[in-house]
């Protein structure tokens, strides 16, 4: 009962936050509200006993991404606000996506159903085996680093590549290269 009450409370707060994200026009407020949104999501994950996911969501979602978004928003020039001219296509898109999601939700297994497909595949084996073999109580760590070691290696490389991409795009060296290129072009013209 408590579980349901807390979940209901958190999800209604989530809806309120979404409404204000939609309503507000200031970029910084949108960033702050998105941070609040992910923090509420991590509270929902704690309520669902997914502490590891909640921890990641709180650290990455509402911590670092909010800071980076604030930085990016501060770098943007203050442009004039464009009025939305034709809302019709976006309304149709939003309604159809929500319809698809509602149809999918109707087909999902119930929360905590022991016969849901996710609980029958490899999870029982992991839960049974990992405690005796690894002597590491946190099964999430075992799955992340050992059973699914290749996946985690891939994730690390994804983060590394993302960092490389941002450095390549934003570092001032690119600006220098551009000016050099222009100089060379001028030389060639001469």
């Amino acid at each position: 009962m408590n579980f349901l009450l807390i979940n209901f409370f958190l999800i209604s707060l989530l809806l309120v936050t979404t409404f204000f994200i939609f309503k507000t026009t200031s970029l910084i407020s949108v960033v702050a509200l998105t941070g609040a949104f992910t923090l509420l999501c991590s509270a929902i994950y704690v309520n669902l006993d997914a502490v590891d996911v909640a921890f990641t969501e709180a650290a990455v979602g509402s911590g670092i991404s909010t800071i980076l978004m604030v930085m990016a928003a501060a770098k943007l020039p203050e442009g004039k606000k464009n009025k939305l001219i034709n809302l019709f296509p976006s309304i149709i898109l939003a309604v159809s996506i929500s319809l698809i999601l509602i149809i999918i939700i109707a087909n999902l297994p119930l929360l905590g159903d022991p016969n849901a497909p996710i609980h029958l595949h490899v999870v029982p084996e992991y839960l049974k085996e990992s405690k005796d073999f690894f002597h590491i109580p946190n099964v999430v760590t075992n799955i992340l680093a050992s059973y699914r070691g290749f996946d985690t290696l891939g994730e690390t490389i994804v983060i590394f590549t993302a960092g490389l991409g941002v450095i390549a795009l934003l570092t001032s060296n690119t600006l220098n290269r551009k000016t050099n290129f222009k100089k060379n072009n001028k030389k060639n013209e001469r």
Binding site: T56, G63, I64, V140, T171, S172
Partner: protein, 145 residues
């Protein structure tokens, strides 16, 4: 922008006090990830948060003296190479790639060593990438000004 140092003494004092505890909490999350919630990804972000807080309060140039850009970029690679290197070592010890059983005479201890090393690699990469992201965002567009 680059040397804009916060005028508020509250912010600078609080950030100086918080710097060490944040890093210790990050290390706790890193190495206690086997026993409780946590692990490389979260710990990396928390450690990066300490350095980003420092750069935010004391200005980007001080932040870049604390974490030099080139060392940061080398550490980004070190994290990925540490992870991949554990796999190579397990091949050299007659195992499969990323098979931690062979890292020690006892398979269970081998798994423990492997998981700790791999999580450390993840933590180093995540922390340095986050710091690099912040520094590139913060220094972007300065030349034009």
């Amino acid at each position: 922008m680059r040397d804009k140092i916060s005028s508020s003494p509250v912010l600078s004092v609080v950030s100086k006090i918080l710097f060490a505890p944040i890093i210790i909490f990050g290390l706790y999350v890193q190495f206690h990830g086997d026993y409780g919630p946590g692990g490389g990804f979260q710990a990396g972000v928390i450690v990066a948060a300490a350095f980003i807080l420092y750069s935010m309060i004391f200005g980007l140039s001080k932040g870049e003296t604390l974490v030099p850009t080139m060392i940061n970029r080398y550490l980004m690679c070190v994290g990925v190479l540490l992870y991949a290197g554990v796999g190579i070592v397990s091949i050299l010890l007659d195992g499969m790639y990323l098979d931690y059983n062979v890292l020690s005479s006892d398979p269970s201890t081998g798994q423990h060593i492997g998981i700790i090393l791999v999580e450390l690699g993840v933590g180093i990469t995540v922390a340095t990438v986050m710091i690099a992201l912040y520094h590139s965002f913060a220094s972007f567009g300065e030349i034009n000004e």
